[in-house]
């Protein structure tokens, strides 16, 4: 505003009269822009502070356009991608990596509403497909896999020692069907019903105390002993390992989550984005992912 005024120090009264409503409408516009950003981020989970995505078109082109990499990633990748950034810095001195970790659905909404990013790593192929169909991302490929496991509270670790024991729990928490872990959980229960008895899924669902909105909520409730058992990803265990018992689900009954990654169209640093992708797919990157509990990439994966 100041720059605007100083350019016209001796404007005519008419011009000043014009400027006032213009200023007012600019202010109103700003309010509306702010509001739409708030709306786009609508219902951010409180426990995840995230940088607001930079506004789409208003920012002028930076003088060094390739110095900043913006990575949007599923919340479960927080730890692994944090380490990945340290590795990335070794070969890219002076490049700052900005992360936005959130639920995959939230990120999809942000990208659909025009948030700017170079890379998107999703916990779910469905959302990536939707973004590809909408022309928001380039070709994508699966870069890692995550294994659902059964977690049991310390009080119940002697009782629930396999998936077959799950109906013995009084309170089970699972992900709600709308989130990937909930969808996989129901698929696992269906598979288990085929081998552990037709009513297995029904017996488990009769004990479900809550259908949580994300994996961390499931894990929190089991590790606090509030629920007896739940199903989460192995990569989410982290520091909770000490407060829960981990029971592996037999591989023939399990449903493995596939994580796709893609370059986002219209991002400021596509070249850096491609470097990030190659790091994630390299043996160094895969090693970091495995340290965080992700699975080794199966060789059958092909780009989509």
């Amino acid at each position: 505003m100041k720059a605007f005024d100083s350019q016209r120090p001796r404007s005519s009264p008419a011009a000043r009269r014009l400027a006032k409503p213009a200023r007012r409408s600019i202010a109103a516009l700003m309010a509306v822009c702010l509001a739409s950003v708030v709306l786009a981020l609508g219902g951010c989970r409180t426990e995840k502070p995230k940088p607001a995505p930079p506004p789409a078109k208003s920012a002028p082109a930076p003088s060094k356009p390739e110095q900043k990499l913006v990575v949007f990633a599923a919340a479960s990748l927080r730890e692994a991608f944090g380490k990945m950034a340290d590795e990335f810095a070794k070969s890219h001195a002076g490049v700052s990596v900005t992360f936005n970790f959130a639920g995959t659905q939230e990120i999809r909404t942000q990208l659909e509403q025009g948030a700017v990013a170079d890379v998107f790593a999703s916990a779910d192929e469905r959302h990536m497909k939707a973004l590809k169909d909408a022309g928001k991302v380039e070709m994508w490929s699966v870069f890692t896999e995550n294994e659902p496991v059964l977690v049991v509270s310390n009080e119940q670790r002697g009782t629930i020692r396999s998936l077959a024991d799950l109906p013995l729990a009084n309170r089970i928490v699972i992900g709600v069907e709308e989130v990937p872990i909930g969808k996989y959980t129901l698929q696992i229960l269906d598979k288990a019903s085929a081998s552990l008895g037709k009513d297995f899924r029904a017996r488990v669902e009769a004990r479900v105390a809550s259908r949580e909105l994300n994996v961390r909520q499931v894990l929190a409730k089991v590790s606090l002993g509030e629920a007896d058992a739940g199903i989460v990803y192995r990569s989410d265990l982290g520091v909770a390992k000490a407060s829960v018992a981990v029971v592996t689900i037999p591989s023939e009954l399990n449903v493995i989550a596939k994580y796709p990654i893609a370059i986002v169209k219209g991002g400021p640093s596509p070249a850096l984005g491609r470097d990030w992708l190659s790091l994630v797919l390299s043996s160094d990157g895969q090693g970091i992912l495995q340290q965080s509990g992700f699975m080794a990439l199966s060789p059958s994966v092909v780009p989509h």
Binding site: R24, A27, A28, A31, V32, L34, A35, S36, V38, L39, G42, G43, R45, T46, E47, G103, Q105, T109, E155, N170, R171, V173, V176, E178, V179, V208, A209, S210, R211, E212, L213, Q217, A220, K221, L224, G225, E226, A227
Partner: protein, 253 residues
């Protein structure tokens, strides 16, 4: 005026954005969403019970806070304001650590049981986060009362309870109603503490904000439509409260 209307515009903008982005057909679809009716019913029932609890316990508490001059009650006043500044998710964790299976007060329960994951837990979460709004408003309403009329009534031989019901309470009603409306609105929108302490199960603990978030995970349009349902309900109740609280003042004239 210009600056003030800017803020009003800013506060209205997200609601306008939501309305503009939700075609009528989507809104109708939202009303038929399988999650909406159980959630709306649960929200209405739990927030009503919450309001009754908050008003019937909060009014005597606010009266005491307004009357008392002791330092102990000033400390109490600060403590009862705390839930308003604690982030809701933290409030949920705090409730778990107090009333959960391993909580500080778990000895109150039969072994292995706890109030968590029940409709009662939803109400507990709502009372915790919304009561400060009523207490604050009610306390200042009682503080603003004219001391002289109370002293006169007492010297004329009215007992304290009679002074309270016939003089103090009627005079404080507008402040109490405003506080009740604020407190109710807060409990209707309550999300974080409920999710943490009561969980998310349709028909039992899934209130409207939780249903909105659940729908948001699969279908943004459904979430928008459900949000609009919530806004319409909240708007309707706030309008009714405003007209009710305006009525006694109109009669005075």
């Amino acid at each position: 005026m210009g600056v003030g209307s800017l803020l009003a515009l800013y506060l209205a903008a997200p609601v306008m954005g939501l309305v503009a982005a939700t075609p009528w057909g989507d809104f109708v679809m939202g009303l038929h969403h399988p999650l909406v009716w159980p959630a709306l019913r649960l929200s209405v029932v739990t927030t009503s019970i919450t309001l009754v609890i908050v008003v019937s316990f909060g009014t005597p508490l606010a009266w005491t806070l307004a009357r008392s001059t002791s330092r102990a009650w000033r400390v109490v006043e600060v403590f009862v304001q705390l839930p308003a500044v604690i982030p809701p998710a933290v409030a949920g964790v705090a409730l778990l650590l107090s009333f959960g299976r391993r909580g500080l007060f778990a000895w109150l329960y039969p072994r292995g049981w706890s109030v968590t994951f029940s409709t009662a837990a939803v109400i507990m979460a709502e009372v915790f986060v919304s009561a400060p709004f009523f207490i604050q408003s009610a306390t200042s309403a009682f503080r603003r009362l004219d001391r002289n009329s109370i002293i006169v009534a007492r010297t004329l031989g009215a007992f304290p309870l009679r002074v309270f019901t016939r003089i103090e309470l009627p005079l404080a009603v507008p402040g109490l109603l405003a506080g009740a409306a604020m407190s109710w609105a807060r409990s209707l929108g309550e999300f974080g503490a409920t999710l943490m302490f009561a969980g998310n199960l349709s028909g039992k603990t899934q209130t409207l904000p939780l249903a909105i978030y659940t729908a948001f995970e699969s279908d943004l349009r459904a979430a928008q439509a459900l949000s609009l349902v919530l806004i319409v309900v909240a708007f309707g109740v706030l309008v009714v409260v405003r007209s009710v609280s305006a009525a006694p003042r109109a009669r005075e004239r």
